[in-house]
């Protein structure tokens, strides 16, 4: 029997405690458990929202559309037909032809649409479709249309443009999954 005190026990204990604490510290820090799939869902939704506006923008103005789907109205025609005096208040929407197109292309998605344009040097933003308050991971898609007096009067809108005036309107779609 050795009566000289030895440190082996304490060494072993110290080493075990050190390794265990390291592992615990690492697992408790949140860096290693970032969920990757969250990002992928955002990319998909952003691309869908952007695609929906693109498709509505390139739909030919004539009514050459298939009978398997409801008629999509061209984005310029939709915006030109808007009544400037009516702004949407929840739950009444003021741009029904755009609303029909978007709800067909984006099922299971909630969205708001705003129009922004420059009038007399000032930027004005008006809401035209409201379906609620945007959620946490909402995405935004933007498209521009150009209006002249001719396009507005063809669609019976009330934009009141001069004959030599060109107005650029930004259509902003905010979409989120419920």
């Amino acid at each position: 029997m050795n009566d000289k005190a030895q440190l082996h026990t304490l060494e072993g204990l110290a080493a075990a405690v050190l390794m265990t604490m390291t592992v615990l510290m690492i697992t408790n820090s949140t860096m290693m458990v970032t969920p990757q799939n969250e990002m992928a869902i955002d990319v998909q939704l952003k691309q869908m929202a952007s695609d929906a506006l693109t498709v509505i923008d390139i739909v030919p103005k004539s009514s050459a559309q298939s009978n398997n789907a409801p008629i999509l109205h061209n984005l310029t025609a939709c915006v030109a037909s808007w009544d400037v005096t009516e702004e949407a208040t929840y739950p009444v929407n003021t741009l029904d032809n755009l609303e029909d197109g978007l709800s067909y292309l984006l099922p299971n998605v909630l969205y708001n649409v705003d129009l922004a344009y420059v009038e007399n040097g000032n930027i004005t933003q008006k809401k035209v479709i409201i379906k609620g308050s945007p959620g946490k991971s909402a995405v935004v898609a933007r498209h521009f249309v150009t209006l002249t007096n001719q396009t507005v009067s063809d669609m019976n809108g009330t934009w009141n443009l001069d004959d030599d005036e060109l107005r650029v309107v930004e259509v902003r779609l905010t979409a989120w999954k419920v």
Binding site: H8, M19, V23, A40, Q44, Y104
Partner: protein
């Protein structure tokens, strides 16, 4: 501390066994940490996104030593890049209409063989020069009926295998507008009375300039009804009577709903009457004369000039979902 007796000190034993227990526990535990953080899965996401972007937004490219361009569907042997977007101005070699897909390109895409698709679209994993191809499913689906592929030329547009349910897949969906064919709209007020004898106010005539490879679709509306039984009688092409369901089909659209209409079938002044003539009838370089005879309907315009189908042609568009799904 060296003991000559050949016994291990008890506290050394205790220390080393504590250490070993902790070591074994940790060695078991660590791999489960790394399982959740593996990076290999994300390359599926990128591949799906990239493939969908190329198919939906790019026109594709072909090239050989003398020339190149975007119409790769006409030069399938020299394809360098596959894309389905339509290019209405081939001289500019770019497209102003991404997300609008061309019927010719889609049909050519369906005829490509599997190795071409995998190589040209990059659906493989490159490991030290060896290609491990992914499983894939590329389809164009109808929006209103989930998961049924769009049908062009009697073929459903879907390539690749069915999605496996036992492993991880990555899928991305794009909204696209597909050009599914061409149609011509006619207003009955502008259609002229047929001058060929016997002259009747209920017969009209159209020119169709061949050759035409697709089905000919005519939409006529805004009829001037004169009697109690407005109906369609027959179609005569260059003097020969056409047979229903063999040479053509016909139906009517009332308020957006498609309803059947056969010869002697009725319609009213709110309906649009549609004739779909089979493609084989107009194969020659020749201006065909198509006479359409109705009953209790009158046309008011005088014969010359005749209206020509090929000049009223518009492209028919249908929105759809382009989905790309890849797995290992």
């Amino acid at each position: 501390m060296i003991d000559e007796k050949g016994q291990i000190a008890v506290d050394f034993l205790l220390g080393i066994s504590l250490f070993l227990i902790a070591l074994i526990f940790i060695v078991q535990f660590i791999p489960s940490l790394f399982l959740s953080g593996s990076a290999g899965e994300s390359s599926l996401d990128y591949t799906a996104y990239r493939t969908a972007a190329i198919l939906a937004e790019d026109t594709g490219w072909w090239g050989n030593s003398t020339s190149s361009g975007t119409a790769w569907e006409a030069h399938p042997d020299n394809v360098m890049r596959i894309g389905l977007a339509v290019d209405h101005e081939p001289e500019s070699k770019l497209t102003n209409t991404p997300n609008l897909l061309s019927k010719d390109k889609i049909e050519r895409f369906m005829m490509l063989n599997e190795s071409d698709i995998i190589e040209k679209l990059g659906l493989y994993n490159n490991v030290d020069g060896a290609h491990f191809s992914y499983g894939y499913n590329i389809s164009i689906l109808q929006i209103s009926q989930n998961n049924t592929p769009l049908i062009l030329n009697n073929t459903p547009i879907t390539l690749g295998e069915a999605t496996p349910h036992d492993r991880e897949t990555s899928k991305i969906t794009r909204i696209v507008l597909v050009e599914t064919g061409t149609i011509a709209y006619f207003d009955a007020e502008e259609l002229p009375i047929d001058p060929n004898p016997p002259v009747k106010k209920s017969k009209t005539i159209l020119n169709v300039t061949g050759p035409l490879s697709d089905d000919v679709k005519l939409y006529i509306d805004n009829f001037d009804i004169t009697g109690t039984d407005p109906s369609f009688n027959k179609l005569v092409l260059d003097g020969t009577n056409l047979s229903e369901n063999i040479d053509y089909t016909t139906y009517k659209i009332v308020n957006g709903t498609v309803l059947p209409l056969n010869s002697t079938g009725n319609f009213d002044n709110n309906s649009t009457v549609v004739f779909s003539l089979k493609s084989g009838l107009f194969n020659n370089f020749h201006t065909y004369q198509l006479e359409i005879e109705f009953k209790d309907v009158q046309f008011t315009n005088t014969a010359s000039p005749f209206m020509d189908y090929t000049q009223e042609l518009e492209v028919l568009c249908e929105p759809a979902y382009l989905t790309v799904e890849v797995w290992n």
